[in-house]
Point group: C2
Chain length 376, copies 2
């Protein structure tokens, strides 16, 4: 059983949207090395992970609540686990919830595990795939008509992982409030990358991904933040083990992932201030690629580093190329770029997050060069 | 926010039972460093973590199934998450399950989260705290009498984390089979340390802890193994995302914890063969400490590296000592030993797992020396 050495962050420009926000900082790596062994954050256990002071987990969680504009935060095993925790805590099997049509598969899988019926707020379809906040009003009305009560929960993917569209969460939240439906905001692709203020966005719950957007790495970890109003219900404790929150089975991330998230946090707080630069880089690349026949889908202009591209030209080149549909992967790899799924040419995603302008220019050059050297 | 450097594995002899089986190997640390970033095991995603071939996760899981004497295995976020997954998959809220009285709090918290009623099979109490397998027959009869059906699930803590007693799982499993109740074996303190053959022990499900007993480190990770008979129910897939197992929300450990477990696995397979040496070391230490008034509870002779000690003598010393109840912690720390909770003198736990004989002798000497230099 051979585990290959992984070198794509060191030796390549990586544009995989799943990975650009989860790259660790040198300080994070040092901290992970120090806490690499099992149950390393439990040296000074006081009975619960979220109350631990050494390392200062309790202090960190309190600061995160402020950073996200919420009141209470718990560490979870990941963003999807945060979503399941909310669904499990405030719904019953058979309940209906409302979810945007661009939601990640894990939202639907979490709802299925929780025994919930899901009604989708469809996107506007190609080429922009926009989620209209007013769509929530329509679907909530359908639920009210069909079941006699408003949906028990609405889930909105703040920025979806397919098209990188930034949805107007505030407006969705207002519609939910009007109907008495709490809003869970999935910020897997937003918090940790761009500023997110939960209360300003009318969110009742925020699910965040440490390893996707908070540079946590070192295992999977997420965050679940909520308001004073919902805190008691979402973070209820075991009746016999009164210090142990039920939805994280007492203690969730009992290892280096916890300190990894904490070690990256000062850098994360700084980088969200540079979100304007990230959007500029993304727009700049889109403009360059559209010039050579690689077109961006999703909202325009782009407001996020993740972009879905479509290119009939690259597809036609692949048909004539010796390597067929694998040509783009190999051509990019030969130029030191990885992160587009091998075998894709017509439709693929890229993220420019945390690339500097020189690297973004290099990516643009690589595509231009590939198209010049491989005429269709 | 200061995250202190953690040095207790490098600079001390660590006897914390929570940590001795989760110490990483040098190869594991190298692998973690290579896969330290977020979603690092997803470079060659084929749609599901458990089907991934690069790194060879699928091959690893198949081998683990053989190693544990089971048929199917999935990675989970931890042992407690494995237990919750089984409970959630095969019971309904309101069902009754049977659990041994020495079970870890997370078993009860998982059952509470799943909405289950728990009937305990009590231990025989002090000083041995033995779980009599026949106790399962009695409690199963109670459940049958009260509810009209056998319990939906029985949970047995193979080796408990308080007294380190090794229970005769095979006999418990036989009693469960006779009654049509499936058995979940919590091997947090057994598999990865000592040989465990699930089918021989009549287990239907095995929950294992990567970071507690498989030297996984690098975040929290567990395993859930089951038989052909139960595989389909426990590992059922989403109806819309047919490659995604519901109980792990599609993909569980999407980071370095996964490869950490894999990198340690060859060493783990070897070390369980040396279990006889571990038991010898534990017994040797118990004999030496009992000679100076530090007495072991639990079964005798000891069959596990984790032992609960009781000492009236150490307690009496502490009452006269300047540092009061913190004296033992400081005296041991001064001698390069950590892992007994600060403030404990009368009752505490220790583990000799993976200490060599010289280190075990050193621990014995330290206690003798402390008692000699601090007469009561």
């Amino acid at each position: 059983m051979n585990i290959p050495v992984r070198d794509r962050e060191e030796d390549y420009v990586n544009v995989n949207p799943l990975q650009t926000g989860g790259r660790t900082y040198p300080d994070t790596r040092k901290t992970i090395t120090s806490y690499v062994d099992g149950y390393s954050v439990c040296d000074w256990c006081v009975g619960a992970l979220d109350k631990t002071d050494k390392p200062p987990i309790q202090e960190f969680l309190a600061d995160v609540s402020k950073f996200l504009g919420m009141d209470h935060t718990l560490p979870t095993n990941g963003c999807r686990e945060s979503k399941y925790a909310v669904m499990h805590a405030i719904t019953k099997p058979g309940d209906t919830i409302v979810v945007d049509g661009n939601a990640h598969y894990s939202t639907f899988v979490a709802a299925e595990r929780a025994g919930l019926k899901v009604l989708k707020v469809p996107s506007g379809g190609a080429p922009k795939y926009l989620i209209d906040p007013e769509g929530y009003r329509n679907v909530i009305e359908v639920v009210k008509h069909d079941t006699g009560t408003p949906p028990k929960l609405a889930v909105l993917t703040h920025v979806d992982g397919s098209y990188g569209n930034v949805v107007d969460a505030k407006q969705v939240g207002e519609i939910c409030r009007e109907n008495g439906t709490p809003l869970l905001l999935n910020t897997a692709y937003s918090s940790g990358r761009m500023p997110v203020d939960g209360k300003k966005l009318n969110a009742d719950f925020i699910a965040a991904s440490g390893h996707k957007s908070w540079a946590a790495g070192g295992g999977n970890i997420g965050l679940l933040s909520t308001t004073e109003e919902w805190g008691e219900k979402i973070f209820s404790h075991s009746k016999d083990y009164t210090i142990k929150p039920l939805e994280i089975l007492g203690c969730s991330t009992r290892g280096s992932a916890m300190v990894a998230l904490m070690a990256s946090y000062p850098y994360v707080k700084e980088r969200v201030k540079e979100w304007g630069r990230e959007v500029e880089n993304s727009r700049w690349l889109v403009e360059k690629l559209e010039d050579v026949g690689i077109n961006a889908l999703g909202e325009k202009p782009r407001n996020h580093d993740l972009t879905f591209f479509n290119s009939q030209t690259l597809f036609e080149i692949s048909e004539k190329h010796q390597k067929k549909r694998y040509f783009l992967y190999h051509e990019l790899k030969n130029r030191g770029i990885l992160g587009i799924k091998s075998g894709l040419t017509k439709n693929f995603k890229m993220s420019t997050f945390r690339l500097n302008r020189q690297q973004v220019e290099y990516v643009a050059w690589a595509f231009e060069d590939i198209m010049e050297k491989n005429p269709k």
